[in-house]
């Protein structure tokens, strides 16, 4: 018996909302980064679910390929994001985003 597609989608949506909430509400930059990661992963779940339910019958791999690209990008993003946060911390001794408003002059 197969798990129906909607279940996957509900899980993914929930995960996305958690990630979005985290990204919007956390004041710690690392927390925001983690929220973003959650949102990316929820997308991965969607991709794979659609692959399983639509593409297997056709014999193509587009969903999987996209998921792998997203994981790669997420890894890169995490690396760059963390590096930036560390750099910001070194300069300002804080990772609180409320204090980081240099874009506004």
């Amino acid at each position: 018996m197969q798990v129906p597609l909607s279940w996957y989608l509900i899980v993914a949506a929930a995960l996305f909302c958690i990630g979005l909430y985290g990204a919007l509400s956390r004041r710690n930059a690392i927390g925001i980064l983690m929220g973003v990661e959650l949102m990316l992963n929820s997308v991965n779940i969607n991709l794979l679910a659609f692959w399983r339910h639509i593409e297997v019958a056709r014999g193509t791999l587009t969903g999987q390929v996209f998921a792998i690209i997203v994981i790669t990008v997420a890894a890169a993003e995490a690396a760059v994001g963390l590096a930036l946060i560390i750099s910001a911390y070194r300069h300002r001794k804080t990772v609180d985003v409320e204090d980081m408003d240099l874009m506004k002059l």
Binding site: L24, M100, L105
Partner: protein, 711 residues
């Protein structure tokens, strides 16, 4: 053989032209060489000219003007679909002119060597240039007489005009202490401009003629059909083309032959060297005007009894009398001759005006010889007196001595016998004393006029007109004898009135020989035109076929000959009474006392110079100044500048009134509105990433809602 020579006609003017070019370009520094080149040039022209004359004489029946000439074409100029043919020709009239012109020119050329003081310390600094100019001059006259059309004629005509300008103004650096006395440079200008007025009138006539008949070649214009066409088509009502063109062309002759009212230049032209006066005022240039009328005579008689002949006759007769009155009161030996020339030219013109074509040409030829003789003789006298002056006043230049003034002469016959006797021969010829040349030619004119009066004139000339001409010319003959006698007695008779005259030497042989030769011609030339064997009539008179009737033959009329002889002798006699019986000792003219104010009037030449100066020259100059002021200061240029200034003012105004407040205002307004809006929008920029993200999320959510609702 004949044709061979005729085909060389074009060489005649080319010889002196070549002399001119060679002297100007290369031999200017070598005086002797220049003299010889000029002599050779005119000499060759003379030989060829006489060769052609004698050949033409032999064929005179085939070469009668106006339609029977031997054409020597040169080249043609395209004029639309047609062509203008230029060229030379040989006919008997040309032949006659070729008899006179190169020979007289040669005499004058030879004379010039001595006159311009070759080989002495006071040789003229522009000696070679003089010979170049007179060579060019000879080229002009020779080319003129062999032209077979009006254009070539006009070209040579103007070449002569140029040369007369250059030669009259030859001593252009001369100035006189008397500011009223005309200087050579002014005289040259006056001559050129005065004749130019005539030339322009003539040009207009020529061009109108050309428009009507589409050709300028004499042979074609003077054919019967063409003349008939010209006489029967009208420029204005009552004015056939032939009449109009003839009168206009006559304008050129009036200018060149110094007829009233364009006579003023000729006496002043005496400022030039004397050989020039002989060249211009006797042999060549002034007779060109008469030649022109003689050449286009068929045109003048194309309309029977037309006004053109009356104009010609009146101007000629009036000029003859009028200028001889002036000659009576002149003291300058050359000026007397100049007025005499004007007067004699008046004779010829008047003769043409009553149809006495042959007589006019005859007088033209004889006059050229004896007037050249008189001018050269007067030059010799002046030259002698100048030398005498130099001898007696070594180096003293304080007082201006006028060697031309007859009052400074007297008793020169002893000092200069050759000059004196040849001068007297010339004077006898001029006054028409039997048997000298002037008697025959002048008598023929008077006889023709008398015959026209008695029997009615040819070509519709009225007898009253003819009488008027005869009367005027006879009166002029009296005055001619009087002023010539006066000149002789003042110059040669009595005792010298100045030291200069007392020491005047006889001239050098190169000056006296031409005088002797010319005196020979002045004596014997008339025999070719006696009423019993008139060679001139043989040569040029037979133009009946075109002119429709026989020309006046010049019958001998003892009555006329008697009257004119009596008149001339009485002129001489009165001159002797006043000047010869008691030779003058002091330089006051006895005539002055007797004539009173009339004398002053005559001495001032009827005040024509003043008249022209005040009413033509000065107004022209003032008009010129007014035009320039109009152009530069008052209207045209100020308008252009005003336009420019208006443009600048307009741009200033646009800048202040339109550009800055409105155009620039709009641009600036757009800028400031944008800036205000930016200020407002600036508030939304918190700089916090989470805010932006929230906005993005909400937007996506809203879009989602929209999507769902729409679906």
């Amino acid at each position: 053989m004949t044709e061979f020579f005729f085909n060389l006609t074009w060489l005649i003017p080319l010889f002196p032209l070549a002399s001119f070019a060679i002297i100007v370009l290369w031999t200017n520094r070598n005086r002797l060489l220049s003299t010889w080149i000029a002599w050779i040039g005119i000499g060759l022209a003379w030989i060829l000219g006489w060769a052609i004359l004698f050949l033409a004489w032999g064929h005179s029946s085939e070469l009668t003007p106006p339609t029977h000439g031997y054409p020597v074409p040169l080249y043609s100029i395209p004029t639309g679909t047609t062509e203008l043919q230029l060229g030379f020709q040989v006919d008997t009239l040309t032949g006659l002119m070729l008899f006179m012109v190169p020979f007289v020119c040669l005499m004058i050329f030879i004379y010039s060597k001595g006159y311009m003081n070759y080989g002495r310390e006071n040789v003229d600094p522009r000696y070679s240039r003089f010979f170049a100019y007179i060579s060019l001059f000879a080229c002009g006259m020779l080319g003129l007489v062999i032209s077979d059309n009006f254009v070539t004629l006009l070209i040579f005509w103007e070449v002569m005009g140029l040369c007369s300008y250059l030669l009259i103004g030859f001593w252009f650096d001369k100035s006189y202490s008397d500011p009223k006395r005309i200087t050579p440079k002014q005289a040259g200008l006056k001559a050129f401009l005065t004749t130019r007025i005539g030339d322009v009138i003539m040009l207009a006539g020529m061009l109108l003629l050309y428009s009507q008949v589409k050709t300028l070649t004499f042979r074609e214009i003077f054919s019967e059909e063409t003349l008939h066409h010209l006489a029967t088509t009208y420029a204005f009502p009552g004015m056939p083309w032939a009449t109009l063109c003839a009168i206009l062309i006559f304008g050129g002759a009036v200018g060149k032959s110094a007829q009233f009212p364009l006579h003023v230049w000729l006496p002043d032209a005496m400022e030039g060297p004397t050989p020039v006066s002989a060249l211009i005022h006797a042999a060549t240039m002034v007779s060109a005007g008469v030649y022109l009328v003689a050449r286009s005579f068929p045109l003048f008689v194309a309309v029977e009894g037309g006004v053109q002949l009356a104009v010609v006759a009146f101007i000629g007769a009036f000029t003859a009398l009028f200028s001889s009155t002036i000659a009576v009161a002149q003291n300058d030996i050359k000026r007397v001759l100049a007025y005499s020339t004007v007067s004699q030219l008046g004779y010829m013109i008047a003769a043409l005006g009553i149809g006495a074509y042959v007589a006019a040409v005859f007088h033209l030829i004889t006059h050229a010889f004896f007037k050249a003789l008189l001018f050269l003789g007067s030059g010799s006298v002046i030259h002698g007196v100048e030398h005498g002056h130099h001898e007696t006043h070594h180096g003293s230049h304080g007082h201006e001595f006028d060697a031309n003034d007859m009052m400074n002469m007297g008793g020169l016959l002893q000092r200069m016998p050759v000059t004196g006797w040849t001068f007297i021969i010339g004077a006898l010829a001029l006054t028409g004393i039997f048997p000298w040349a002037g008697f025959w030619s002048k008598d023929e004119i008077l006889a023709d006029a008398w015959n026209a009066f008695q029997h009615g004139g040819h070509f519709g000339v009225s007898s009253g007109w003819a009488f008027f001409v005869w009367l005027f010319l006879t009166l002029a003959a009296f005055l001619t004898a009087f002023y010539t006698g006066r000149q002789i007695f003042l110059t040669f008779a009595g005792t010298p009135r100045t030291e200069a005259a007392r020491h005047a030497p006889e001239s050098v042989p190169s000056m006296t020989w031409p005088l002797i030769i010319l005196a020979g011609f002045a004596t014997f030339l008339g025999l070719f035109g006696t009423p019993w064997a008139n060679q001139f009539y043989q040569l040029i008179g037979q133009k009946a076929e075109v002119l429709g009737e026989h020309l006046p033959h010049g019958e001998f009329n003892p009555l006329v000959a008697g009257i004119s002889t009596v008149v001339a002798l009485s002129g001489w006699f009165i001159a002797w009474l006043i000047y010869g019986r008691e030779p003058l000792t002091n330089p006051v003219d006895p005539l002055e006392k007797r004539l009173g104010r009339l004398y002053i009037w005559l001495k001032n030449k009827w005040y024509f110079d003043e008249l022209y100066m005040n009413y033509i020259v000065h107004p022209s100059v003032r008009l010129a100044q007014a035009c320039f002021a109009f152009d530069d200061k008052l209207v045209i240029d100020p308008l252009v500048d005003a336009f420019g200034r208006f443009g600048r003012w307009l741009s200033e105004w646009l800048k202040d009134a339109v550009d800055i407040p409105i155009v620039d205002g709009i641009v600036n307004g757009v800028g400031s509105v944008t800036a205000k809006f930016g200020e407002f929008m600036r508030a939304t920029q918190t700089g916090k990433v989470q805010n932006y993200l929230l906005v993005a999320a909400v937007t996506v959510l809203l879009l989602l809602v929209l999507f769902v609702v729409r679906a």
